[in-house]
């Protein structure tokens, strides 16, 4: 027994070593982004990289307060991203919650078909939807407005959010509903007083997931905005111009996009994993 263990050890050690080398290496892009964002422009491109330097927040000031050389302050793009993320998430939850209630009722004869159809829309390629949305929005002069972004985002996050809510509602023991009926609670009271509070964690998961997916999205923002509703991930592309890349500003802007998501993701890691599998993994 002991001998065997001795034989296994080196392989396990090697595997762990590989894993930790991978994890460390995968932090490099983040380290690069954060350190470059804190460097003066004259040392940002030095090779070998300067590991020890005095952090400067000038890049963040340039990006957030606005400096010359950019058509539009990046703070405005962050605000746009926030508005679009917020409205599309609210819209998504408002629409998904009643749908999830209906889909979790055994009395609803069409629920299986509808649930699977909704799941299958997750496979619908966004690029396909963009062409008609782009043309239609152009016709009604809605390109570069918030609704033309918020509605598609809500739509494309709906399958995930409905499924998360539905699987959570289905976990509510039927005794609770029966007891409520015995007590004379009507449908609306049941939903607002009992079902809703029990679904709050799932609503939170749905909201977090929908927010992250919207905040991080690039394609819709790229296709459907020009300037006044442009979102942050689209905006960072502009830091590479004709005269090369403004590394400091690019990195600082990137950090402002990534940081909020990162903080949330680390805190509620389990929820995100569960949510991204449509509630299938707990």
């Amino acid at each position: 027994m002991k001998e065997r263990k001795m034989r296994i050890r080196p392989l396990t050690l090697l595997s762990k070593l590989i894993i930790w080398v991978w994890i460390s290496a995968s932090m490099l892009p983040i380290i690069f982004m954060v350190s470059t964002s804190l460097k003066d422009s004259d040392i940002a491109r030095q090779m070998p990289p300067q590991w020890i330097f005095k952090p400067k927040f000038q890049n963040y000031l340039d990006v957030l307060v606005g400096a010359d050389g950019h058509s539009q302050g990046f703070n405005r793009l962050l605000l746009n991203s926030f508005i679009v993320t917020f409205t599309s998430t609210i819209l998504c939850l408002l629409v998904a919650f009643p749908a999830a209630i209906a889909l979790s009722q055994p009395k609803f004869t069409r629920r299986k078909f509808l649930s699977s159809w909704i799941l299958s829309t997750y496979m619908f390629p966004p690029i396909v939807a963009i062409i008609p949305v782009f043309i239609f929005a152009g016709k009604i002069n809605a390109i570069d407005t918030y609704p033309v972004l918020a509605i598609p985002y809500a739509a494309f996050n709906l399958p995930v959010v409905i499924w998360i809510l539905r699987s959570s509602i289905e976990q509510i023991p039927k005794e609770i509903e029966e007891a409520a009926h015995v007590d004379g609670t009507n449908g609306w009271q049941y939903i607002s007083k009992i079902l809703f509070p029990l679904t709050v964690p799932a609503l939170a998961t749905g909201a977090i997931l929908s927010s992250i997916l919207t905040w991080n999205d690039f394609l819709f923002g790229l296709a459907l905005t020009r300037s006044s509703a442009k979102t942050a991930p689209v905006g960072i592309q502009e830091f590479t111009g004709m005269y090369g890349t403004d590394w400091g500003s690019l990195s600082a802007a990137s950090v402002t996009i990534v940081a909020p998501v990162l903080v949330i993701a680390i805190i509620v890691r389990k929820r995100i994993v569960s949510g991204l599998t449509f509630g299938a993994v707990k």
Binding site: P29, S115, P126, N216, I266, L276
Partner: protein, 328 residues
């Protein structure tokens, strides 16, 4: 579209225990009809939004795909199947289809294998593993567009860190990564694997920690080694989670757009230009709506064929094991 009628077991598997409940309740027919109306009412907003974003675009694109419609020219004529004919015979379109296919297969394969490897060693609840779990979610939280931008800077032949580190370990420095197609492919795949392996790993870790301990311990007592335990026990018990990760990653990989546009721009030439990027360019940069529509419809047909297959895998997985493990 065909996808609308695809039959799925994912739903029925999860509803399994609920069915019993509906049978035990003797509901009169009129009440059933009445409540169905309420359910449809509750479904309406979601259905409207989903129809606007899926079925309506599909119908619109089908009608446009038979025309030579363009946003730059108000004259639009019916040209029958010509668009489809030229898409299917255009070597660059077929090349794009190949790029998408190769990309999806390669990244999903690499991510699944690495994810399994990671999960095998990280699932035990130790302090080191929880640190690893927290670090793993980092790449995955980075917006794909930002990640692609960062990778482009890292791969810069003059100032990028990648070439610097390669020089340090004695590899040839100053590789122009995005300047030739082979290294561009490597860059794209590394970016995707960097970003999404953690996702697969975290799903599989969730699966591993739900596994019953007994069979693993029994096998260890019987003298099975790590590989044997992994191959004969873990993988089988994990099958549902592997299926979930596989299906979801495949779907997401098909949608990949940001990294192609930002990191390689489809280049050099069109060597890394996938279908998504081609459609984007034809529709929103050349404004050839008719032609782009036929490309989009062909993509939809392929997705519609794949959708039931993927959902069936998911249904099989959730039916067999997840009921016991995760849906309890």
């Amino acid at each position: 579209m065909r996808k609308a009628t695809s039959k799925v077991n994912f739903a029925s598997a999860i509803n399994g225990q609920k069915l019993a409940r509906s049978n035990s309740e003797p509901a009169s027919l009129s009440r059933k009809k009445h409540s169905n109306r309420i359910f449809w009412f509750q479904m309406t907003p979601a259905l409207i939004i989903l129809l606007i974003m899926t079925i309506a675009p599909a119908i619109y694109l089908i009608s446009k795909s038979f025309t030579n419609s363009s946003l730059l020219d108000s004259n639009s004529q019916f040209i029958g199947l010509k668009n489809y004919q030229s898409v299917l015979t255009d070597s660059s379109q077929l090349h794009a289809a190949r790029v998408t296919g190769i990309f999806v297969v390669l990244v999903v394969l690499i991510e699944m294998v690495s994810g399994l490897f990671f999960a095998q060693f990280l699932y035990k609840k130790t302090r080191a593993n929880s640190v690893a779990g927290a670090l793993l979610i980092v790449p995955f939280a980075v917006a794909p567009a930002v990640a692609a931008m960062i990778f482009r800077e890292l791969l810069n032949p003059n100032y990028g860190w990648v070439d610097y580190f390669m020089g340090l370990v004695g590899l040839p420095p100053q590789v122009d990564w995005l300047g030739n197609s082979f290294t561009s492919w490597i860059a794209l795949i590394v970016l995707d694997v960097w970003q999404w392996t953690p996702y697969v790993t975290l799903i599989l870790i969730a699966g591993m920690s739900a596994l019953p301990e007994e069979p693993l311990e029994a096998a260890a007592v019987d003298g099975a080694n790590t590989w044997q335990i992994f191959r004969h026990i873990s993988v089988r018990l994990m099958a549902p989670f592997i299926a979930i990760a596989l299906v979801l990653r495949t779907i997401q990989a098909f949608k990949t757009f940001d990294s192609f546009l930002i990191l390689t721009g489809g280049g050099p030439g069109d060597s890394t230009s996938p279908v998504n990027l081609e459609i984007y360019r034809v529709a929103l940069q050349s404004f050839r709506v008719g032609y782009a529509s036929s490309m989009a419809i062909l993509l939809l047909i392929v997705t519609s064929i794949l959708t039931p297959v993927l959902l069936r895998i998911l249904g099989w997985a959730t039916k067999s094991e997840v009921d016991k493990l995760a849906f309890k």
